[in-house]
């Protein structure tokens, strides 16, 4: 058999890479190896619709089985790659099998970060990264009365929002940061979102370090904070971020930083190996060329398209504006661009009406835009960032200006032949 494309990781990045390779005319065999036994599924709904009971696992399929069959993409699910040998172009699986490759793609994503405190192995302590985590959590939630979520990032807050909507439980979110969403949102947005969570009945305990989780008879009973106070809990969910899965690459000797180091086309330090999605890190023009590792669906998908283009000799294209979304408490939160290095922010629209956006500038340049319940404005912002439009803070804040008409359609008119 010809040594074709071997993809490690059967999720957003790996599956779109396989599909796009076929669309681009790749004729060699394609195999995807995935550690999770479930057929490839969408991850974002795990902390949203699935917890709320609005969607079921079968609604989450990324592609149908018929698709994989017709596209001749073979799926090896429920087995993990345990070693990569770049010299021999061979991957060893957990069941001892060895697969040869012509090209290898690392799309191994990230895994829930282990807790840096004692007690995380008690019964009643859960994480939320995979479908099986989410299904187990859903069962636990049904029987829980006192839920403590550790970590006020997007996933922890989406979960607490879902629990607040279900009602009937005490929900506490604990975070060591002085505010929620410390890593992924501006302070202004965080303040607005925190207010909504409190209003929904969720208790937020901020600036608090966890000392340990206590239990009795093997079951968790409470969360103990560094100041000695205790919060009763019959369910504790750890939402404290992820650890990138770049271990295989490191052992194989590929260049790594905060993840597997790649160029725009996903190429690693080995010309036969690409990496993409949550496990990869690269220089971004949206961060003045600094190294960034993003954890969002858009990045996984862009990485897949860029790698597929590079592997099939098609133009890879400029890096598109990074973006992600989150849904919680009826708020559609979207961020376009990267918020590092921001020194000035203006608001557009009204916070009272729950529909506004925050325009972040670094010096004179627009750097990132956060929108709340304004998806069309988010799309405009993405295009403005993409084109490096010279919009000023005053113009961004002025709701009398139709930004799309003023900046985008005019540019299009100018660039038309």
């Amino acid at each position: 058999m010809r040594d074709g494309m071997l993809i490690l990781g059967a999720s957003h990045a790996g599956v779109l890479l396989a599909a796009t390779l076929r669309e681009n005319g790749w004729e060699e065999p394609i195999t995807i190896v995935g550690e999770e036994p479930s057929p490839p599924y969408q991850r974002p709904p795990l902390s949203k619709g699935l917890i709320a009971g609005e969607v079921e696992p079968e609604d989450l399929a990324l592609r149908s089985f018929g698709f994989f069959r017709d596209a001749e993409i073979s799926l090896e699910l429920g087995s993990a790659a345990v070693a990569v040998d770049p010299a021999g172009r061979e991957v060893t699986l957990s069941d001892g099998r060895r697969l040869r490759y012509g090209c290898l793609a690392l799309a191994t994503g990230a895994t829930a970060r282990p807790a840096p405190f004692e007690g995380a192995d008690l019964d009643g302590v859960a994480v939320l990264r995979t479908l099986s985590d989410a299904l187990m959590l859903r069962e636990r939630i049904a029987a829980a009365g006192e839920v403590v979520i550790v970590g006020a990032g997007y996933i922890g807050l989406e979960l607490s929002a879902g629990l607040a909507a279900l009602g009937g439980r005490h929900v506490t979110v604990v975070d060591c940061g002085r505010r929620i969403l410390a890593r992924a949102a501006s302070a202004t947005l965080a303040t607005f979102v925190a207010e909504r969570h409190r209003h929904a009945g969720t208790r937020l305990i901020l600036g608090a370090r966890i000392a340990r989780l206590n239990g009795a008879g093997g079951r968790v009973t409470d969360v103990e904070l560094a100041d000695g106070s205790r919060i009763a809990a019959d369910l504790v969910v750890l939402a404290i971020g992820v650890r990138r899965n770049d271990h295989l690459a490191r052992v194989a000797g590929l260049a790594c930083d905060d993840g597997v180091l790649v160029n725009r086309a996903g190429r690693t330090s080995d010309p036969r190996i690409v990496a993409l999605g949550d496990c990869a890190v690269r220089h971004s023009r949206f961060a003045d060329g600094a190294l960034v590792r993003l954890e969002c669906v858009q990045n996984a998908q862009d990485g897949a398209r860029a790698a597929a283009a590079g592997l099939t000799g098609k133009p890879v294209g400029m890096e598109p504006t990074p973006w992600f979304w989150s849904d919680q408490l009826g708020l559609r939160l979207q961020t376009a661009g990267l918020t590092s290095g921001v020194d000035r922010t203006v608001q557009r629209g009204s916070r009272e009406q729950g529909r506004f956006s925050l325009w972040h500038f670094a010096g004179p340049r627009l750097r990132a835009v956060e929108t709340v319940n304004a998806p069309a404005e988010h799309l405009v912002a993405r295009k403005l960032l993409q084109a490096g439009c010279p919009i000023s803070p005053a113009e961004a804040a002025d709701t009398r200006i139709d930004l799309g008409a003023r900046f985008l359609r005019r540019e299009m008119a100018l660039s038309a032949p």
């Binding site: 609604d59 399929a61 990324l62 592609r63 018929g66 069309a376």
Partner: protein
Amino acid sequence: MPTIIYEQPDGIRRRVDAPEGIDLMLAAKRNGVRGIEADCGGACACATCHVYVGDGFPLPEPEPEEQAMLAEVAAERLPQSRLACQITITSALDGLVLRIPARQF
């Protein structure tokens, strides 16, 4: 199951038997219909599931949010433009033809 017909810009058609209750984007995605990118998976957050809908079917009017997003789609916006993720499949849509635009970005 209602049949939905997806037509590529070059005129090539693909018939998909789609269960009622799911949306037009999901039916395309699951079956690997190309050209409907759907980066947000149907959260009405990306506008990369743009399609041109055929005449003569009882489609619900777009909500204001979808309406506003249609102004920002990558390909030309036409009166038939819709976001495929915002339309739920019913038996009344049997035989509907969706034309896929040349670009979604």
